[in-house]
């Protein structure tokens, strides 16, 4: 069967690609578009390492087919910084040592940004439950949660 021809927007750029039916959005991002910032940890939606936003909605790219995203807007970790300016969350993660091996970090950053865009003043409980779909094995989550809450507070101050 012929491949699907898909046009979408990735991090603000128009992209065009071909994909087989069974290729996921994660496969397309990593292998076709060469955006390897989103990671595959499980391919079953249980770890969040492949988190992206799709038309503004936080999703696991491993659970979306490439052929489903025609006409849609995708934001990945690669689009989070604006030129040389890191997003405040990225900067805070660095300053707070909220990463150790770093494999889960793209997923956490995308998920955290989605949280703060929706809910600028989350409680610790809300942050933990929002991020429950992002597994980290290195940090024990402590510094990640602190970094997200500190960033939220800083952004509220303006």
């Amino acid at each position: 069967m012929a491949k699907h021809h898909i046009e979408a927007t990735v991090n603000g750029d128009a992209v065009e690609f071909l994909c087989e039916t069974e290729e996921t959005l994660l496969d397309v991002l990593r292998d076709t578009l060469h955006l390897t910032g989103s990671k595959e940890g499980c391919a079953s939606g249980d770890c969040g390492a492949c988190s992206v936003t799709l038309d503004g909605r936080l999703v696991c790219a491993c659970l979306v087919l490439g052929c489903e995203v025609d006409g849609q807007k995708i934001e990945t970790i690669e689009g989070m910084a604006k030129g040389e300016a890191l997003h405040p969350l990225q900067q805070r993660f660095l300053e707070s040592a909220a990463l150790q091996c770093g494999i889960c970090t793209p997923g956490f950053l995308v998920a955290s940004r989605a949280l703060l865009e929706k809910s600028p003043n989350p409680t610790e409980h809300e942050v933990r439950y929002w991020l429950a779909g992002n597994l980290c094995r290195c940090t024990g989550y402590d510094k990640i949660i602190t970094a997200v809450m500190d960033t939220a507070a800083a952004l509220r101050k303006g």
């Binding site: 300053e95 091996c101 770093g102 793209p106 439950y129 597994l135 094995r137």
Partner: protein
């Protein structure tokens, strides 16, 4: 020339002990950093592995002809492509493995010994073709009875995995093979006499299940082999020199012809100290004459890479009524998986190590069974044995009505204590961690009904080992630092800080990289809590050489004698009268004139780091039990651990917090669940239940620093100790909350509820 440790900068800054931004950080927060599966080569093929569906079977025949004929398939390998290896033990992380077993674990030979055991591998032009090809490989198995429980495997008459495995460490040497690979033992004093002296003796048996390291990044390797046999390999690993050694051996290559690059690594915890895909990728690439990329699926990670042992542990501890421990005995039975080599030896060594006990006897058994070969997992063996010991210590505290911290303080190992496994301790920080916990607000906070508090201590001895680093002064005065131990948690930040302080240059002028195996002398792997300890020691050596070299060049330039110059505060400084004639020269100043003054400036540290100091820790946990469902919530957690000297406090705290949460998972919900058919039922993150962010509270980390006198900065490794105390602390908190001593892990809700009901505590 006076020697200086150069501990401050021209600008007065020093970086060791501060919270610098890690040099690899920007790439990691932007997705630019390249982990194992992020590497690609033009023209690469995709490799996939065919794995045994049976836990135990003779492999009668393998027919790959149909797979080889499938368009798009460029190479297929089986046991025929790997030469057999004679028996020889080699380090695999902090454990030992035998090459005869390594080659069989990488590719099954006579038998499939666990579900998931590699039987064949293919390289094809796409993942889809590779998957199809696997289905076309015909393997004829003769299914055999299997055994997966350690006690069952030890029984005479149990299904035998290896007919050439005779229990080592017993006299006389057995005539019949068995599944018991080895018996180990440590002994000190006379435990029988000791137990006679005891006023109270507690004996308990404990059981733990196999748990996986749970790294989020699956194994990945990319290999390309040239016609002359030179091989390049990129892989996610904790030890690329070990990978090189194992691959060279398995594939009959000269070590010098194999160049391994360690990619960024997405977690290891000991599980990435062994080879799985790497030899397969190389063998396939050699055959296909194209690069081959292989990545494990999550299911393969669980089924085919090594978890740590499940075990049965019996502990007997005797004390006087005043609380002095007088005799300690333990018997450990650890699962090795399909090949020998469980961490029963370190488990034996660590069991009673936190305590000064005159009479100690620990016996351990290494037992094979039809499960994946175990790999190291953070302080391998110690969490299991120390869970059992800390539980019994807690019981003694309760029976004698002595505060559990005071009881531990009374018996704590200290400087001069001779550990039962051999060495005499130098300065150590166990008492400091116990006192630090005692002083916390946490220790005294009130508890409500169904809430409980538990404390436990733990220990890991830490290692040093072979380490090579290089420091190069670039023409503009920046420093290139090359280390050879993969950075799994912030190492580059710590090493850069040390180099910056040693040479008196700003932190951001030091660029650390992890070099490939072609660029540095041998490095033992990242493990054993050694990379910051050994790496910093080697950097001190390299920096010494640079400082000496610069002083020598200054002497030439200034026509001075060695005692007229000194390196301090980032520069070579003229002393005395000379200071009126010449100005000090910084590292950068020398860099500008390097060519004219003798050539490139650099230093090399090549050491076998000795003097690793043990790190002790004490954990305190509050939890709450839902008496109607058995669900446990962790309410509060504090860690106090001795770091010797924290090169980077935030990353040391991170080790404490991460290890504690792994321990929480191990204690409450993580376990390998097998059916009677010997097949793993929970080979995914859905049902292998690791803690998520909402499962845990903030983890308070207290850095205790009792300097290790054998390290120039006082550093102790810290990475492994944090996972040792949680199991005991949580079990002790459960006892405090429910009055029930849980002797089986994990303490999952069905078990907890059942125990509550049996005790008449659950609401009907």
């Amino acid at each position: 020339m006076t020697e200086s440790n150069g501990h401050s900068q021209t600008n007065g800054e020093h970086y060791v002990g501060t919270r610098t931004i890690r040099p690899d950080g920007h790439d990691k927060v932007t997705g630019r950093a390249r982990f194992g599966a992020d590497f690609n080569l033009p023209g690469q093929l995709i490799g996939r592995v065919l794995r045994s569906p049976h836990p135990h079977a003779h492999i009668v025949s393998i027919d790959t002809s149909k797979a080889e004929a499938l368009p798009g398939v460029k190479a297929v390998v089986t046991r025929d492509d790997f030469a057999d290896q004679p028996s020889e033990f080699v380090p695999a992380g902090e454990m030992m493995m035998n090459y005869k077993d390594v080659v069989r674990n990488v590719m099954a030979r006579e038998k499939a010994l666990y579900e998931g055991h590699a039987v064949a591998a293919v390289a094809a032009t796409s993942a889809a073709v590779a998957r199809k090809a696997l289905k076309l490989i015909d393997v004829t198995y003769e299914v055999l009875p299997h055994v997966i429980d350690v006690v069952e495997a030890m029984r005479p008459g149990a299904p035998l995995l290896h007919d050439d495995l005779f229990t080592a460490g017993v006299e006389p040497k057995p005539e019949k093979p068995s599944n018991i690979a080895k018996r180990v033992e440590i002994k000190q004093g006379d435990v029988e006499a000791g137990f006679e002296k005891a006023d109270i003796v507690i004996e308990r048996e404990f059981k733990t299940a196999a748990v996986h390291q749970g790294y989020i990044e699956p194994h990945a390797a990319l290999a390309t082999v040239s016609e002359d046999g030179s091989t390049e390999l990129w892989c996610t690993t904790q030890g690329h020199y070990i990978v090189r050694a194992h691959c060279a051996r398995l594939l009959g290559l000269d070590i010098g012809k194999v160049r391994v690059t360690a990619t960024e690594i997405g977690g290891g915890f000991g599980g990435k100290t062994v080879v799985y895909l790497e030899p397969l990728a190389i063998a396939l690439s050699r055959k296909a004459k194209r690069p081959v990329k292989m990545v494990m699926s999550r299911e393969e990670v669980f089924k085919s890479s090594g978890p740590t042992s499940g075990a049965t542990v019996r502990v007997k501890l005797g004390a006087t009524k005043d609380g002095k421990f007088v005799a300690a005995f333990a018997e450990l039975k650890y699962q090795a998986g399909a090949f020998q080599g469980s961490p029963v030896q370190p488990g034996t060594m660590c069991a009673f190590a936190p305590y000064d006990i005159e009479n100690v006897h620990v016996v351990g058994y290494d037992v094979v069974s039809n499960r994946p070969k175990v790999a190291a997992y953070r302080a391998p063996g110690a969490p299991i044995s120390e869970y059992a010991v800390e539980s019994v210590v807690d019981e003694i505290a309760k029976k004698l009505d002595i505060d559990p911290i005071d009881l531990r303080l009374q018996n704590a190992a200290h400087e001069g204590t001779k550990a039962a496994y051999g060495p005499k301790f130098g300065p150590i920080g166990l008492e400091e961690t116990l006192n630090a916990i005692k002083k916390t607000e946490h220790w005294n906070a009130p508890l409500r009904k169904w809430q409980g508090r538990g404390v436990a201590s733990g220990f890991w001895f830490n290692i040093g080992g072979e380490t090579s680093v290089s420091l190069t002064v670039n023409e503009d005065g920046t420093i290139s630092l090359m280390a050879g131990t993969p950075d799994i948690g912030g190492l580059r930040a710590s090493l850069a800080a040390v180099a910056a302080d040693e040479l008196g240059v700003p932190y951001d002028k030091v660029r650390p990289i992890i070099g490939d195996t072609g660029s540095l002398g041998f490095n033992f792997l990242t493990g054993g809590s050694r990379s910051a300890f050994s790496g910093s020691m080697a950097i001190v050596e390299a920096a010494k050489q640079i400082r000496a070299e610069l002083c020598a060049r200054a002497c030439k330039l200034w026509e001075a004698k060695p005692d007229q110059v000194e390196f301090s505060d980032g520069a070579v400084r003229p002393l005395g009268a000379l200071a009126e004639k010449v100005k000090a020269m910084t590292v950068a100043d020398f860099a500008k004139v390097a060519g004219k003054t003798g050539g490139p400036i650099g230093g090399v540290g090549r050491i076998n780091a000795q003097g690793a100091g043990p790190s002790f820790g004490t954990h305190l946990v509050d939890l709450e039990v839902d008496p109607e469902t058995g669900r446990v919530s962790i309410l509060r957690y504090t860690v106090a651990q001795d770091a010797g000297r924290a090169l980077h406090p935030a990353y040391v705290e991170g080790q404490y917090q991460g290890g504690a949460v792994q321990g929480i998972g191990w204690a409450l919900n993580e376990e390998y669940i097998y059916g009677a058919d010997g097949k793993l039922q929970n080979a995914g993150f859905l049902d292998y239940r690791m803690p998520v962010a909402s499962d845990v509270p903030m983890i308070d980390a207290i850095l205790v620093e009792v300097a290790n006198p054998k390290h120039p900065y006082g550093v102790r490794g810290v990475g492994e100790t944090p996972i040792v105390p949680p199991l005991g602390a949580i079990a002790n908190a459960m006892e405090n909350a429910t009055g029930i001593r849980f002797t089986e892990l994990p303490m999952s809700p069905p078990k907890v509820l059942k125990a509550l009901k049996e005790k008449g505590l659950a609401r009907a």
